[in-house]
Symmetry: C2
Subunit: 201 residues, 2 copies
DNA sequence: GATAAAATCCGAACACTGTTCGGAAAAGTG
DNA sequence: CACTTTTCCGAACAGTGTTCGGATTTTATC
């Protein structure tokens, strides 16, 4: 009864290879022109066969979105923990933007192709993971005294603000400012520093 | 030879009415499901006829995007000029987010449905208009001494940073945080104040 | 007002798309 | 071996954006 492993493994690996083909197509043709039928062609299957592995095109995109999410989490985990909390906060922000610039398609998948159907509670928690990472860094920065909370501007609010700043920079650089040849890294760092400075006493 | 006016007027007004029906469809069915054929049905034309007025579906969306852009400019122009420059800067940021929340479809059109083909130089200038508005407010804030530039963090960089912050807040509220019931206005204002504070001496 | 010209409109067709369904082939189980 | 489950696909359906030829209507010119 090797069904337990072999069968499920096969199913899972085929699923993964289809996702891989789909992601490759997104990267070189753009997600707007992604077609189920072309995925099937490149993967060596008939269009109907893909429905054996996914509920439809939307679920394929949702899966890719989830994968992209994990990739983002990896980026955000890179900054070492043995640096001053306020510095680390900046590095996390920089990592966020770096992810967006180095993986524009993944970034788009994470934030602009979220499944239209309300995600379940558990997915929400998972989806909040990057938020949790930033939040934890803010907590440490507060404990170290680098930044301070004030009334009406609490932990969640600060986390949200930093996330917004990073998200805005990343989004603008990948869309409206994509053809600008500025040294965004330097400016971004200054922006984070300015905000952190404003959070100080 | 009344062709000059009548003819062109008619053409322009039909064009406008098609855009209007298209926008209505976007608002109540979502842009993802917007279909050229349905626009034609609702507008009382055959699908082929729309090509007398637009190059295709993409140009219709591009036109709507341009209209949405104008609407954003109006929002950004609302804050009065007879208030302290640093306060005004915050009000402009708040107006940016307000536009996004009150007109989510328009906001999406402006920032996530930008025409894939490189826009021309003149369109670029027009597209930069909100940026110009924010920039001008920053200039006045600098002149008043409310905020200061430092080396490597100049006018453009500050403008870009404020834009990013507002853009991030707007985008997140319209997507990932759309189901959260927080008092975003208050938090947003605190975030802007914090950043402006960081920009001070 | 008749005539030529230009603008407007649409039916039909083409090449796509996502999805469903029935059944054939293959693989695993007893 | 038979039996069940999984896998796969051809065919079809409804829908899409777009093109083209020609008919109809509106405008300009004589």
């Amino acid at each position: 009864m090797p069904e337990n492993k072999t069968r499920q493994n096969r199913h899972a690996s085929v699923k993964q290879s289809i996702l891989k083909t789909a992601m490759a197509l997104i990267i070189d043709k753009g997600i707007a022109k992604l077609s189920l039928r072309e995925i099937a062609r490149k993967a060596g299957y008939s269009p109907a066969s893909l429905y054996e592995y996914f509920e439809g095109k939307d679920e394929i995109i949702a899966q890719l979105s989830a994968e992209a999410f994990d990739r983002l989490s990896i980026y955000l985990s890179q900054p070492p923990t043995n640096i001053p909390p306020d510095k680390r906060l900046i590095e996390i922000g920089m990592a966020y933007v770096k992810f967006a610039r180095e993986n524009p398609e993944h970034y788009d998948l994470v934030f602009n192709r979220l499944p239209s159907k309300r995600s379940t509670a558990s997915e929400e928690i998972n989806a909040a993971s990057p938020y949790i990472i930033v939040r934890q860094a803010v907590v440490e920065a507060i404990e170290s005294g680098s930044i301070v909370m004030s009334r009406g501007y609490d932990l969640e609010a600060i986390t949200y603000s930093l996330w917004s700043l990073a998200h805005g920079m990343a989004t603008l650089q990948n869309t409206h400012l994509s053809q600008f040849e500025a040294d965004f890294d330097k400016v971004n760092r200054s922006a984070f520093e300015t905000f952190i400075k404003g959070l100080g006493t």
